[in-house]
């Protein structure tokens, strides 16, 4: 099993990992600069994966510059269909990001399992990878790796022959936004506004007396504690997130 770590800076990656994920899956403002990326590539003795988030036109332009700095075949986690052609065009290896792989990550799924119709239960425990057309589409677009969340219940990803999978631990993403509350908490203004990347320094635990699970907000995204022991069969890589 390959061990990877997702960090902000290459200097934060410990020696025990085989691969380093740089970039960000959720916020385009947290992408590195070209200079930072080039420096990381130069000093790292580990394999690199660049994670990319949903992108605006401005973010897309920035992401394209990053792609150009990568050596051929480097893995790029794609979380926006708008970036896919550029990744393929530069002979990089596109990876299906967690935001483009659709399935329910709500821990309450298991609470209703015995009450809902069988068909509904099957859907709630299946991802979009069970769709034949979607899988064909991924293969046609040279996507051979899938990024998965360690959700605390069983999820059927179908027959993933031809794909490899990475499992992100210990938290599973559940929802995200561009109206960043971390930014609001630090600037006092809500909406999509300029930020000073304050979220890097802090995370906010959310607790509700009405729910049986807690969440943690890191940056613009809410995470739940995942079940790291539930490793899908096709998984050959664990991605650790020590900075959440």
């Amino acid at each position: 099993m390959e061990s990877a770590v997702h960090v902000r800076s290459i200097r934060d990656a410990g020696g025990e990992y085989d691969r380093v994920y740089l970039g960000d899956e959720f916020c385009e403002r947290l992408l590195p600069t070209v200079r930072q990326l080039e420096k990381a590539l130069k000093i790292s003795d580990k394999k690199i994966t660049l994670a990319t988030p949903p992108l605006t036109d401005k973010g897309l332009a920035g992401a394209k510059k990053l792609l150009s700095a990568l050596p051929g075949k480097t893995e790029v986690v794609v979380n926006d269909w708008g970036l896919l052609d550029d990744v393929k065009g530069l002979n990089l290896s596109p990876v299906l990001g967690r935001l483009l792989l659709k399935y329910h990550r709500d821990p309450r799924v298991e609470l209703i399992d015995d009450k809902i119709p069988k068909g509904c239960r099957k859907v709630l425990h299946s991802s979009a990878l069970t769709q034949e057309r979607f899988v064909k589409f991924l293969k046609k677009n040279r996507i051979r790796r899938i990024e998965l969340d360690a959700v605390p219940f069983e999820v059927d990803h179908g027959d993933l022959s031809g794909f490899k999978a990475s499992l992100h631990v210990p938290y599973a993403y559940v929802t995200t936004t561009r109206q960043c509350l971390a930014n609001y908490f630090t600037t006092g203004r809500f909406g999509i506004r300029e930020c000073r990347k304050q979220c890097i320094e802090c995370s906010f635990p959310w607790e509700s007396q009405e729910l049986a699970f807690d969440m943690v907000q890191k940056g613009n995204t809410l995470f739940i504690e995942g079940d790291s022991a539930r490793i899908p069969q096709q998984c050959d890589r664990i991605v650790h997130h020590p900075q959440i």
Binding site: I112, P117, R133
Partner: protein
Amino acid sequence: MTSIIAPVNSPAEVEPLAAAGADELYCGLIDSSWNRKYSPVCSPNRREWRDSNLKSFRELASVVLRAHKKSISVSLALNAPYFAGCQEEDLASYAVKAAKTGVDALMLADVGALLLVAGLDLGVKLQVSSVAGVYNSKAVAFYKKIGASRIILPRHLRLSEIRSIVKSNPGIQFEVFALYNRCIHSDGLCTFLHGGEEYGLGANVCARKYEITGKPSNARMRASIRKLDAAYHTHSGILQNLAFTCGLCGLYDLVKWNVYGVKLVGRGKPLWMREYGVRLISGLIQHIKEDKPKRGEFIRDVRSIVEHTVFEDAFRPCTDFNCFYPEVL
């Protein structure tokens, strides 16, 4: 011309919405067969409550017939965030039955579902739902290649970002939201269950109260959390789901940029609210075109109208929280 696109929830609502000024209608549908098999929790569209949906294809046919008599087109939302493989046959059957009613367009979000429906070659237009989360011009091109003729842009875009996308893609129609519901989280990137009250799930996770227990060391953070608390009348918590959000200030730019359509959210909202919203938008578009106000004047006019509407408690005052485009404030 900027089209006003309104939600319809029964055949009898077509005429009042048309009279109010709606140019197009959209709806969802959960028929008894889908309801039995999947329940509204796995709705074929992003309204996981049966009350926000038509109940049969017969009803859909009636909506289409009555709308077409008024020269109004109708689109059917099949914009579930995703479909599982076990639903492909049922989804295809839904799309075929919908096409037989004469519906003008199908609105989808899931890539696999779009590929499936495009492959059926039903002779209906394909629209990409806001749930797909199209945030840039290249993503527009991606969906156009699959067969989309219209993109409904997600709520979480700044006006300048909308402009960039619209300007870069002249060959495709765009819709944006102008009134009512918005969550602080991105619809297309959210994986929480909606609905499920009948199975004991209670309110949506995004409509709960939370304690933020991080005890931020920064005084500004503490102050912001208190401000959010006051804004929502919760106890140090966050109520995220904003049922009365307004983006009417943005109409000036949207009309000038020739954005194809502006949409009201709210298939579950009472008819009078939808009629009122359509009239309000229609009047404001007319004001822009006929009175030719300056941008600043228009925004002032809108704020004065909006803050004194029948929704005054919900809308007043205009804040970052009840605004689709708070950068205008």
